[in-house]
Amino acid sequence: MKSFGYLRPDSVQEAVEAYAAHPGARYLAGGTNLVDLMKLGVERPAVLIDVGRLPLDTIEELPDGSLRAGATVRNSDLAADPRVRDRYPALSQALLAGASGQLRNAATTGGNLLQRTRCPYFQDLDKPCNKREPGSGCSALDGVHRDHAVLGHSPHCIATQPSDMAVALAALDAQVELYGTEGTRRLPAAEFHRLPGEHPERDTWIRPGELITGVLLPAGTAGVPSAYRKARDRASYAFALASVAVVLRVADGVVDQAGIAFGGLAHRPWRARHAELALLGAHATPAAFEGAVDLELMHAEPLRDNAYKVSLAHNLALDVLNRLAPAPAAA
């Protein structure tokens, strides 16, 4: 690991100023991804700015009925919060489906959103990788890519976004709150991550030095039935091959609210807008769900070795949609 200086600012303002004084520094939160990547030599910051103890560790209700979770709330505490469990079950379930108990005790809301891809070539300094070293090439295109993307990828990068939490946030219409030298702004969680295009080195739309201060869970999805389901190579403690978060409200047998996001399929949580549009106003039947999911997944462009992900995602989404839809009234 490369030697680095360590700063622990006491406030958000001081943290952002510390970055301005040390461009190229990295914010350190739980460290479960950053320290790992520093050991591998993928990250080589000269300065770490520790934001893990900033007073952003609360979950609070706002007057408009939304819930705000601070950036340093630990993943385990966010998943266990009774308000999150009751109003946004997909978020609690997604967090609990990720990593391990130990890791979730250290990992933070902000760090989870900014964790880097698990593409093995990204972590291997001996292999070309456009995300790690722009212009060097993509080793996964013709390499081992069964875990890689089937939607929205580019010839420059086919990596997937690894966070389970981010998928639930996208389906729940959450917003990411950012603070930087230009002030505060918010981005929809569904748009926070980028597609790789020609610049896979940029995972998200965050600006250099900007700090995530929290995420906002809106009143509009509070209490609406939601769920998360993940498929992986072992029953626990593994990243998603495919996953889905669904928010679904049905009134009188008709869908009047739908949010669907896939994980493990793309460089960002894949909000299934085509499927959602098809469902709005439709009768909540298994056939309607299947038609809608197919409408989304027909856009998939699987690689040589990962076509299985399309049917996996299809089956996961149908299972969760059918589970969330109220059973039709007995005739």
Partner: protein
């Protein structure tokens, strides 16, 4: 705090480890695991993977189980750390869970055992505090202790791998102390 000069590559920190305060001058790169093993000679915590993937390095930091291989010691200044060496307190008696591991023969090579035990102690406290797991029935009321059946124990300890496959007996040892 925000001086334009490059901050120093080393720091002085104070940690309480198994109840005893230690003030140490460390390279900022020091992980908690290496500090425990190399600087304090507490070699109970093991290094399996050094990347958060096995759980052999699990210790309790301020009462919560964490992977000590991914924690920078400099970021833990002021924390209270408990390792497998400190579980029994001052006395000669092992912790009841250590005793249960012996009674149940819940290990073969023993390499994963300190991490399994620290993880299980942290996990039992989490369930008592009402933390759900992936297999907890979503209908379980929030905030109440979660009963630990076998599937709960297995899921909650999934961050601790055992290459000898002692899993069934590890689950039994945990069941012994929660009954």
């Amino acid at each position: 705090m925000t001086s334009a000069n490059k901050p120093a590559p080393d720091s002085e920190i104070t940690l309480r480890v198994n109840g005893k305060p230690h003030t140490l001058h460390i390279d900022n790169r020091r992980t908690l695991l290496d500090l425990l093993r190399e600087d304090l000679g507490l070699t109970g915590s093991k290094k399996g993977c050094d990347h958060g993937q096995c759980g052999a390095c699990t210790v309790l930091a301020d009462g919560r189980r964490v992977n000590s291989c991914l924690l920078l010691a400099v970021a833990l200044d002021g924390s209270e750390i408990t390792t497998v060496e400190g579980l029994g307190g001052d006395g000669e008696e092992p912790h009841p869970l250590q005793r249960a591991f012996l009674d149940r023969d819940a290990f073969q090579c023993g390499y994963c055992t300190p991490g399994q035990i620290c993880s299980a102690i942290g996990m039992i406290a989490e369930a008592a505090a009402g933390h759900p797991s992936q297999v907890t029935d979503p209908a379980t009321p929030s905030g109440r202790p979660v009963p630990l059946d076998r599937s709960e124990i297995r899921e909650r300890l999934s961050g601790n791998l055992c290459r000898c496959g002692a899993y069934p007996r590890i689950v039994e040892a945990v069941e012994d102390v929660i009954r």
